[in-house]
């Protein structure tokens, strides 16, 4: 039984991508720099794992769109590699953040 969801074609005969995947990529490309600028402005030291996590998320979005055009099997695998890296990196970001966060004294 094939339980995989069908990917509605984004148009043309050879391409196979979901419009929502393109929308995600565009949104991330638009907000990603804003998120990084905000982190750099608000934190004296941005946890390095945060960059890894955001980079992996970007990679996942790129690969998921690109797999509709070329090398679907390999790029799909890379997409999931990126998700795994992002998950671990976000978890490690919190560990790093606890070290670089300002002291709780100034918390309100």
């Amino acid at each position: 039984m094939d339980v995989h969801r069908e990917r509605p074609s984004g148009g043309g005969d050879r391409v196979d991508y979901q419009p929502s995947e393109v929308a995600n990529l565009i949104l991330f490309l638009a907000f990603g720099p804003v998120i990084i600028v905000a982190l750099r402005r608000t934190m004296t030291v941005v946890p390095s794992m945060c960059y890894v996590a955001l980079g992996a998320m970007l990679g996942a979005y790129v690969f998921t769109v690109a797999e509709g055009f070329i090398w679907p099997v390999g790029l799909n695998l890379l997409e999931h590699v990126c998700y795994a890296v992002a998950g671990v990196a976000f978890a490690l970001t919190l560990r790093q953040f606890r070290r670089v966060a300002p002291p709780a004294e100034s918390a309100r």
Partner: protein
């Protein structure tokens, strides 16, 4: 062919995102930038991708692709949540800077008031109309002024200022609008006829638009040697 590898990767992803979702909820630490709302939204964002991981596991383990339909929403909301966190952290930083600046200003103001009240001489802030808007403890003692908590200053009993050079009456208003003054001797004559010799200095203040905004008037009791 890659499905088992993908399932393993999705399990790793799900565990990572789940940890990232749970830690901010159980962690009590809070900073001016990472407030409760930021922590909750971050947890929600991480939870969304933990859900995507679970959905991918079910799909690639050939169990069900049902939840795959909802993945798109989760992914869109994830980006929106990150953008919200970034924006909120920026706003929190601005707010924190304002609070710190305001605290610093209050400290400086308190220090200045302490200095002004420690000075044995009198210090007055006289408006352009001659109304006294501030008197330190020295001024209250030397010229019998009283300040209330609302910042208004009253003068009782009424004395008059005499200029020994012209032997004419002068006033604080004339001192306030008369330009800078350096160590000028004036007499305060009290209703009972006694006189206090005072040495006055004043510095004009500029209001908005460059107009004269009154003066800071300082004075002390004259000391005579020999």
């Amino acid at each position: 062919m890659n499905e088992p590898i993908i399932v393993v990767l999705d399990v790793v992803s799900m565990i990572g995102f789940l940890i990232a979702a749970i830690v901010p909820l159980v962690s009590p630490s809070e900073t001016p930038l990472v407030t409760k709302s930021v922590r909750y939204v971050f947890s929600a964002a991480m939870g969304l991708y933990a859900f995507v991981g679970i959905s991918n596991i079910l799909e690639h383990a050939e169990i069900t692709a049902f939840w795959d339909l909802y993945e798109d929403y989760a992914e869109i909301m994830f980006i929106a949540a990150l953008a919200y966190i970034a924006s909120t952290m920026l706003q929190n930083q601005q707010l924190d800077n304002q609070v710190k600046a305001s605290r610093l200003m209050r400290q400086q103001n308190d220090l200045l008031l302490n200095i002004v009240d420690t000075v044995p001489g009198g210090i007055l802030v006289v408006g352009p109309t001659g109304a006294v808007t501030f008197a330190n403890e020295g001024a209250e003692r030397l010229l019998g002024m009283t300040s209330d908590s609302g910042g208004s200053v009253s003068i009782t009993p009424s004395w008059i200022l005499l200029d020994p050079l012209t032997a004419e009456e002068t006033s604080l208003a004339q001192i306030a609008v008369g330009g800078p003054l350096t160590r000028r001797t004036l007499f305060a004559r009290w209703p009972d006829g006694t006189q206090t010799e005072l040495v006055f200095s004043s510095t004009p203040m500029t209001a908005h638009g460059g107009e004269l905004g009154g003066s800071i008037v300082a004075f002390e009791a004259a000391s005579h040697r020999g």
